[in-house]
């Protein structure tokens, strides 16, 4: 598990390949209960664990997440003396909720580090297929696409001399979203043609390019999660 600097990238890849996406899903389910009923010690433990997991996938993402968490924690600390004010109090609570459920969001980021094909393969094993599988793939396919298109539309607006303005919300919406929606209709048609011609409607058993199996690492993670869950539930009773 511990690797030298030069071989870091290769080893990270191999390690993330070894962890089954379903384990991450399982951890999300377990942690959502742990974070609700557990105490501070369980929270800290789960936070450190997921940050460690994220850094196995991408050091950059983990670093950015730690910075964001520190900023939120810092803001909470700063706002605490002013809780008397209702607005400040409500912002404070919002930040607190974000901090409380941070491990879940981080696990979500870990899940999105897998390629969509790998996720579909994993979900297919537990019987989640068809429309939901397509939905998940389209999600990962489209998130970068939307940002690319918005940049292009922005450039187009600059050239035409059209300006976005908060005082003209309907016009601004028309300028940004109408070309975006037309583009999406176009792309969805091409995409559908493409997957039809790649046999997606074939009535037979589907295989997967990615290997999805349960290894010792997965089992130990789930067991670890269950122990943590047990510890937090035990405190209640």
């Amino acid at each position: 598990m511990f690797c030298k600097n030069d071989k870091k990238n290769i080893n990270q890849h191999q390690l993330s390949d070894k962890i089954n996406p379903l384990t991450i899903v399982g951890l999300i389910l377990l942690f959502s209960v742990i974070l609700t009923v557990g105490e501070q010690s369980q929270y800290l433990f789960s936070l450190i664990f997921v940050l460690g997991l994220l850094s196995l996938f991408s050091i950059k993402k983990a670093f950015r997440t730690i910075c964001s968490l520190l900023i939120v924690w810092g803001l909470i600390y700063l706002l605490k003396p002013h809780l008397g004010n209702v607005l400040i109090g409500s912002i404070y609570t919002m930040l607190l909720i974000v901090l409380k459920f941070a491990p879940l969001f981080i696990l979500g980021r870990v899940l999105s580090s897998y390629s969509s094909s790998h996720l579909i393969a994993a979900f297919r094993k537990i019987g989640v297929d068809g429309g939901i599988g397509i939905g998940i793939t389209v999600f990962f396919r489209f998130i970068p696409e939307i940002s690319i298109r918005m940049k292009e539309i922005n450039n187009g607006m600059k050239i035409r001399g059209f300006k976005a303005s908060i005082f003209k919300p309907i016009r601004t919406f028309e300028l940004y979203f109408v070309p975006l929606m037309y583009k999406c209709i176009d792309i969805s048609d091409t995409l559908t043609c493409s997957i039809i011609s790649k046999g997606i409607e074939y009535d037979g058993k589907k295989t997967s390019f990615h290997e999805v199996k349960i290894t010792f690492i997965d089992i130990s993670m789930i067991v670890g999660g269950m122990i943590l869950l047990g510890a937090s539930l035990w405190k209640i009773f």
């Binding site: 390629s115 790998h118 690319i148 607006m157 390019f209």
Partner: protein, 489 residues
């Protein structure tokens, strides 16, 4: 040899419209057949009937029969055609389902139940054949146009499909990528694949095709075996040229007073400097082409000149970004992102804050010249690709700016549409200079007075007339031409 594909179409209707009629064709194994004709002739509909997308995706009423490998196309089970037919669509990026290269290539194998070990082997083999093994784990968003094309083709090699359909494959490629693509086609031909290509650009297929089928008004007008189609015949049928080397410039170099000056402009992309100390001048009625290989910085130059990038540039019409944006207009490659309003006529009317009667008259004239008058109250986003490109160009003409820059205005257009564009540009250039970034040599020779050749950290501006061979050698990357002294100034 048996026919791998047979089509006998008495008629095909889409709603009330008759799209195809009395069409009979057959293709033998190992043939490379090119379907060509003007926009709207029905070749795309024919392609969709042959690859099964009609009726699975597109609607329409067919009176006729299509046979693939001797079996009626409707007799195949849903998705089964993927075992025998591969498809490469017009815009490879839009057709990718997965976000990683090797996943996209493996998709067809997964859908049809190929076991993992065989699938892995086939994916590796396909990537090897096309030379894309080094990008197997890359995201599809980081690929160049040529690389995307290769990934799309690799996907068709997983199931050893006998027939591969290409729908206008060169429209999203630049000059270098088209050359690589024709080499790939030869490799596929050597493997015994049967290839059917719907295409406007013919020059890169000259040595490759077995037969060329010319379609007009929904029916086959003529079939040309390789060698029987001459350039003169192409001109007669209003097709794109078959032999680029025969092209000559139709424009005289004009010596005009300098109207636009660019002085020692440095164009960057991120931290990289793409073009150093670019200096050139444009006369008032000059149309200048810009050519160069893939990645050299042509589109980046366009964005810098029109004010989308580079905070400061020493140009005569605006050194700051805001001034450049106000005084120039750039029609980008993807015109969809520059169309905003609810009707075609509004798109033109809102080019200016206030329109006088003569402005409205100009709008009417442009709409009639570009054959868009009957579509003036339609949604501009619902127009066809060629119509949108024409609309984008006349929008730029009506903008009232000092300089117009067009980035690949004729990619994917047939000869007739390209000629309309060329005439419009020639007419407009009487008032203001136009810069055209293009790898469409036919457009270059028809429209441009001069050309700016961009090399690696070097450039040269020369007249087009008299330097045709030099320009074509430059495009073909023959020698260090930018240092050549013997060119016609």
């Amino acid at each position: 040899m048996e026919n791998i594909l047979e089509a006998e179409i008495k008629s095909f209707h889409y709603g009330e419209d008759l799209i195809l009629k009395n069409l009979k064709m057959s293709v033998k194994k190992g043939e490379i057949v090119v379907l060509t004709g003007l926009s709207g002739c029905g070749k795309t509909t024919l392609l969709r009937l042959l690859n099964g997308l009609i009726p699975y995706f597109y609607d329409g009423d067919l009176d006729g029969e299509i046979k693939i490998l001797g079996k009626d196309i409707t007799a195949y089970k849903k998705g089964e055609l993927a075992k025998y037919i591969g498809n490469v669509f017009q815009n490879p990026k839009d057709q990718f389902f997965c976000d990683v290269v090797e996943d996209e290539i493996a998709l067809v194998g997964e859908n049809l139940g190929l076991d993992r070990d065989t699938l892995k082997e086939k994916v590796e083999k396909a990537m090897d054949l096309l030379g894309i093994s080094h990008i197997s784990k890359k995201s599809i968003f980081e690929l160049s146009g040529g690389e995307r094309q290769k990934v799309a083709i690799a996907g068709t090699l997983i199931y050893d499909t006998d027939i591969i359909f290409f729908d206008e494959p060169s429209s999203s490629l630049d000059y270098d990528s088209i050359k690589h693509f024709s080499e790939i086609l030869l490799r596929l031909k050597a493997m015994g694949k049967t290839i059917i290509i719907a295409e406007h650009r013919l020059y890169y297929l000259k040595e490759i095709f077995s037969r060329l089928i010319y379609i007009k008004d929904g029916t086959i007008c003529d079939i040309f075996p390789n060698g029987s189609l001459s350039n003169d015949k192409c001109k007669e049928l209003e097709l794109r040229t078959l032999n680029e080397r025969e092209l000559i410039s139709e424009k005289e170099l004009i010596v005009a007073k300098s109207y636009i000056k660019v002085n020692k402009a440095c164009i960057h992309q991120g931290k990289r400097t793409l073009i150093e100390e670019l200096t050139f001048e444009l006369g008032k009625s000059e149309i200048m082409g810009v050519i160069g290989s893939n990645g050299i910085g042509k589109s980046t130059l366009a964005k810098a000149l029109c004010g989308l990038s580079e905070k400061y540039l020493d140009v005569s019409y605006g050194q700051k970004q805001r001034e450049r944006l106000k005084n120039s207009y750039c029609v980008l490659q993807d015109v969809d992102a520059q169309i905003f309003l609810d009707t075609v006529e509004n798109e033109l009317i809102f080019c200016k804050d206030k329109n006088s009667e003569s402005d409205l008259e100009k709008i009417r004239e442009y709409l009639k010249d570009t054959d868009l008058w009957h579509k003036k109250t339609n949604h501009p986003q619902k127009l066809s690709g060629g119509q949108k490109q024409r609309l984008a160009i006349i929008t730029s003409f009506l903008s009232g700016r000092k300089l117009i820059i067009l980035d690949e205005p004729t990619s994917g257009l047939d000869y007739k549409s390209m000629k309309i564009m060329s005439d419009l540009m020639t007419e407009k250039a009487k008032e203001i200079p136009i810069i055209i970034i293009t790898h469409d040599l036919e457009l270059l020779f028809k429209t441009c007075h001069s050309v700016l050749m961009l090399g690696d950290k070097d450039y040269k501006k020369i007249s087009v007339k008299g330097n045709e061979a030099l320009i074509m050698d430059f495009m073909d990357k023959k020698g260090n031409l930018l240092k050549e002294k013997n060119y016609v100034k």
